[in-house]
Amino acid sequence: MRDEVWFPYVIWNSTIDDLDNDNLKSYVYQKVDEEKINPPLGKPNQPWHSIDLIVEENIEVKKLVDRLNEKMYTICEDVGLHPVQLYDIWANVNPPGVSNQLHAHIPSIFSGVYYLDAEQGQGDIIFERNDGGETCLPVLVKEPSPFNQKSITYKSETDLCYIFPGWFKHRVTENTSKKDRLSISFNYGA
């Protein structure tokens, strides 16, 4: 029989290894200091994220957005969409012990994350299916496949970048290390 695949959830991954992550890290902590109205860093069980970053404010953020724009152009070509533009971009600091609850990025078409300081044990990103398959598929399967899984885990590691549809629900597991996990998230739309 012939098979055709429809409506998949897609994850694009790549490495961005030409950014000065030390510079980015200093910039993020500067934002933490500036944004006193947000929950203070280190408060138990509270991830911190910045308000929208001003792209031109930091050369490394600008470079990151340039890289992302290139990737987004390729992705839109591949999936048959008009080019998208950056909606917003923000920094995240997950101190030890914190996690992020399941969420989607309404109403962006694409969302993603770049890890500027992350390693094993600091919290993986878990994507969960929401198409009905999670209720119909058997609980236990012997051979995991993209078809039969109910969730998929991607590791967080410095320089890695993941891009995914804005409607793809995801969460971040607990940071079980003793140091902060730093990332930059972004949304793109029409």
């Binding site: 098979d3 961005i16 048959g80 078409i109 119909c136 399967v141």
Partner: protein, 195 residues
């Protein structure tokens, strides 16, 4: 580093044709059933849907199930599922004007349809995307729909065609616009008790 693309949780649709099912026998059986039973109303509007047909009542349906067992065995291996078995199978007769509203087959793992008598204008089957993307995705350039950006995909209803799909995939049947009945057999497959 170049982008690496990974597709997760896809909705595959398998298509093929069965030529070893005696459609004349099945058609005769279908109309006999319709004569003696009012059937059930589920997604069908204006059409007749039988109750579940058991094994041994119609040789053509038994042959169809043999074919489906073989195909689902292959499909299960392909997607990493345990062996599946038929849960239920039923006949649909859609006369002119009949439609089937959007529905899914929750409770089963895989579902499908085989066309005993169908042709252009009889009402194609349309599968709708099962996620939230409809709230996010814009119209593509030049209305060029792809596996990623489309909200719906359409498959022709044609005699001998068979389509297999995940049970949770919402689908509907377009209105039968012609004077000839559209006759199909639908089925659900699920986990074997001992799998």
């Amino acid at each position: 580093m170049p982008l690496h693309t990974e597709l997760w949780f896809p909705s595959p649709i398998w298509s093929g044709k069965f030529f070893n099912v005696d459609n004349d026998v099945l058609k005769k059986f279908a109309y006999e059933q319709k004569e003696r039973d009012t059937g059930v109303a589920i997604s069908n509007v204006g059409g007749w849907q039988s109750r579940a047909i058991g094994k041994g009542f119609c040789t053509s349906i038994d042959q169809l199930v043999d074919n489906l067992d073989r195909e689902f065995n292959e499909v299960s291996k392909q997607v990493g599922l345990p062996q599946l078995e038929v849960y239920n199978i039923w006949i649909n007769i859609n006369p002119k004007g009949a439609v089937n509203l959007t529905h899914d087959h929750m409770g089963a793992v895989m579902s499908g349809v085989y066309y005993v008598q169908a042709e252009k204008g009889n009402g194609n089957i349309k599968f709708e995307r099962p996620d939230d993307a409809r709230y996010y995705l814009p119209t593509p350039p030049d209305n060029k729909w792809t596996y990623f950006n489309t909200q719906v995909c359409e498959y022709a209803s044609l005699t001998n065609a068979v389509y297999l799909f995940p049970a949770w995939l919402p689908h509907r049947v377009e209105q039968n616009l012609i004077d000839k009945d559209r006759i199909s057999v639908s089925f659900n497959y699920g986990m074997k008790n001992n799998a």
